[in-house]
């Protein structure tokens, strides 16, 4: 897995260069919208009474934000590359203009590519004395890469658990004594071509990639609160083209998956069912959509204005109950798929059954009631963390992945790569030997 480590470290160097420059862009290329935030890193931790622990969001400030309609993206993957490039250019240029600075480094997230989750284990015997950084590096290197299939690429590989002899769930084994060190690692693989297409689009916009994260992971880092991450929770990021599912346990992602149905499918259902254009369907969905029909909804008529020239066709109306009748099966299907995915991950065996719904499609009125019936009763609607400088329009649940990426930029969970960074070079060893000789003899 050393090649993977090197790629991740190269990306981290880019990120550190961006942090040194103080400005980095966040790019969320989704199916429905492309959002770009420009962050300026500065120390502005608020002081005063009642200011609690900040999860890293006090280190930066959003100085530019632009959202534009995505083009050329289907199911979270690049469908038409020049169109995607234009959408990225629009978003980046708008954010740059608002920020007044030029950004060269971008942290992107990626929701498509059929992520596959693998739980891996490695174990190694400790040589002598307490566990050192080298031992951690050895045990991580002993984790053998599974057969993730042809054309797949590793997106995340994070150690989630360490064990020493009979003890397990150690957060950091360094300095502890034992015989055998075990490590559990979560590996997320995605389609290599899907990533490469997105990266090619970003590079063609003259931007350097300073980080790449999976969208379900990014959304969960901002939508889950601290104790939910610690005790275990699932985050369902209901996006435009895909619905991302990620499970957090003890502050680490242990499972991620996507359901390839999202809000645009609801729109296309409405468009097909009511024979109206897609943009009108989107408008009707956003304005009148819902999942629970009441008696009042039978009487509320929605005008379906069209411009076809057919008088009768252009002056149809539909009741809101009919609209809900179109929306609800699709939402149920999404939630059922998510339920199935969680079941595959044995989410039911976890001690905490908390489920957080976020993403743009989670804004359908009455979704929490419907989700509670399908996913269990510990469902809540999640909104992303509040971040300094974020415009009001970008504070909704649709921007959970964006805000999560900001947190990734400020406080990345990549301590895994530190373990391997300790070199086992002869020079360091001889120096250490010299130090030991001095300590023994004086």
């Amino acid at each position: 897995m050393s090649r993977l480590f090197q790629a991740q470290r190269a990306m981290r160097r880019q990120r550190q260069a961006a942090l040194q420059r103080g400005v980095v862009a966040i790019l969320d290329v989704g199916t429905y919208k492309t959002a770009c935030l420009v962050l300026r890193f500065e120390e502005n931790t608020p002081q005063g009474e009642g200011v609690g622990h900040m999860a890293g969001q006090s280190n930066f400030r959003v100085i530019g934000a632009t959202t534009t309609q995505s083009r050329g993206i289907r199911l979270g993957e690049v469908d038409a590359m020049p169109e995607t490039e234009r959408a990225i250019r629009t978003a980046v240029q708008g954010a740059q203009k608002m920020a007044g600075v030029r950004v060269d480094h971008v942290i992107a997230c990626f929701s498509g590519g059929r992520p596959g989750s693998y739980g891996l284990t490695g174990e190694v015997m400790l040589e002598a004395g307490p566990c050192t950084v080298q031992d951690v590096a050895r045990v991580l290197a002993s984790v053998d890469k599974p057969d993730i299939g042809p054309g797949r690429e590793v997106l995340h590989a994070q150690p989630v658990n360490f064990g020493l002899d009979h003890r397990t769930t150690l957060r950091d084994p360094r300095g502890q004594t034992g015989e055998m060190l075990r490590a559990d690692m979560h590996l997320l693989s995605v389609d290599a071509h899907a990533i490469e297409n997105l990266l090619a689009c970003i590079h063609r916009c003259d931007l350097e990639l300073a980080g790449l994260a999976s969208a379900p992971y990014a959304a969960a880092t901002s939508a889950l609160v601290e104790d939910e991450k610690e005790l275990g929770a699932a985050c369902i990021d209901m996006g435009g083209g895909t619905t991302g599912i990620s499970i957090f346990m003890r502050k680490h992602m242990v499972y991620a998956d996507t359901v390839r149905i999202g809000g645009t499918h609801i729109t296309s259902d409405i468009s097909q069912g009511l024979r109206i254009p897609t943009d009108v369907a989107e408008m009707i969905k956003c304005r009148y959509g819902g999942v629970v029909a009441t008696g009042m909804d039978d009487r509320e008529q929605i005008a379906l204005e069209a411009d076809t020239g057919d008088w009768h066709h252009d002056r149809r109306t539909v009741s809101r109950a009919d609209l809900i009748g179109i929306i609800r099966p699709r939402v149920e299907e999404i939630l059922e798929e998510a339920r199935a995915s969680l079941d595959r991950a044995r989410f039911g065996d976890l001690p905490s059954q908390r489920i957080v719904l976020t993403g743009g499609a989670s804004q359908i009125p009455g979704l929490d009631g419907l989700a509670a019936r399908i996913l269990g009763n510990q469902v809540r609607l999640g909104r992303p963390l509040r971040v300094q400088g974020l415009p009001e329009a970008a504070k909704g649940p649709a921007f959970a992945a964006c805000v999560g990426l900001c947190m990734q930029g400020a406080e990345p969970q990549d301590e895994f790569w530190d373990f391997d960074a300790v070199p086992t070079r002869a020079s360091g060893r001889s120096l250490r030997r010299a130090v030991r000789w001095f300590r023994d003899n004086w």
Partner: protein, 296 residues
């Protein structure tokens, strides 16, 4: 019905690739600073250098500037056409008009006021001068003339001095001096003040006072009519003169046939008699001696 007009394809909101790149380039701080300040300032310096370096350009600029200044200075508002001299006698006025190095009309800016004033002050009769341009383009010279105090005869000339000993005028003859007290001798002009004090002290014998003579550039002799003189000491001459006058009042010393009243040594005043008087005195003394003999 479908509208046939007013429908246009919505324009693409995405910037073109080159526009995007130009926008990013423009947001680069160094590039922005160069475009905004670097290139304009360099261009200004370059153009200025190129313009100045051409043949005869500097001269043309200087000439143009001089012409402009000249045109402004020659305007009628700044022209001085009249000369008015106040406080000077007719003689002095004509002297000033001859001596001043200006020919009116001329511009105010060409007038050298300080030079004019110093030229006026160089004239002997002028004690102080005020030079200014007043409204109406008139050059006003306000002169304060020196007041003649004494007439000084020396080297065969008669000069009128003021109280400070400065020359006011030269007179052809002594008669022209009028009632001015007369002094003579080398270095008398340095002691005019003392001479005036002596003249004041000699007020009781004004009708007999001829003048004062400076002896050896050191002390004064008071010359009276009939060739009488009073030799005054170097120190406190006025007091000595008073003493001589007191002697005159008491004993009519000056009315007698005395040639010189010598008060140079204060403790020993000496009277020098004229020859006739001395002879008379000798005869009297002889007579007295003879009578004494007869008595004996």
């Amino acid at each position: 019905m479908r509208k046939l007009t007013g429908r246009r394809a919505p324009c693409d909101p995405a910037p073109s690739k080159w526009r995007y790149r130009m926008e990013r380039l423009w947001l680069t701080p160094l590039f922005k600073a160069m475009i905004r300040t670097g290139i304009p300032s360099f261009g200004v310096v370059f153009l200025f250098t190129w313009y100045i370096n051409q043949e005869g350009r500097v001269e043309a600029i200087v000439d143009g500037w001089t012409d402009t200044v000249q045109a402004i200075q020659d305007r009628p508002e700044f022209r001085v056409g009249l000369l008015r001299i106040e406080g000077a006698s007719a003689q002095l006025q004509s002297d000033i008009e001859e001596a001043l190095p200006i020919d009116l009309p001329m511009s105010q800016f060409a007038l050298d006021m300080d030079g004019l004033r110093s030229a006026l002050l160089e004239l002997d009769p002028v004690e102080d001068a005020e030079v200014r341009v007043i409204a109406g383009g008139t050059l006003l010279l306000r002169i304060t003339e020196r007041t003649p105090a004494v007439a000084w005869m020396h080297d065969g000339r008669v000069e009128v001095l003021d109280a400070d000993g400065r020359r006011v005028a030269t007179l052809p003859t002594l008669e022209a001096a009028g009632p001015l007290p007369v002094i003579a001798g080398d270095g008398a002009d340095k002691a005019v003040e003392e001479a005036l004090r002596l003249v004041a002290a000699a007020a009781p014998v004004t009708d007999r006072l001829v003048g004062l003579t400076r002896i050896g550039n050191r002390r004064w002799d008071v010359i009276l009519t009939r060739g009488q003189r009073i030799a005054l000491p170097e120190n406190a001459p006025a007091a000595a003169l008073d003493r001589a006058l007191a002697m005159d009042t008491a004993k009519d010393v000056l009315d007698r046939d005395v040639e010189v009243v010598d008060l140079r040594l204060p403790e020993r005043p000496v009277l020098r008699l004229s020859g006739a008087a001395r002879e008379e005195l000798r005869q009297l003394q002889e007579l007295e001696r003879l009578t004494y003999k007869e008595e004996r």
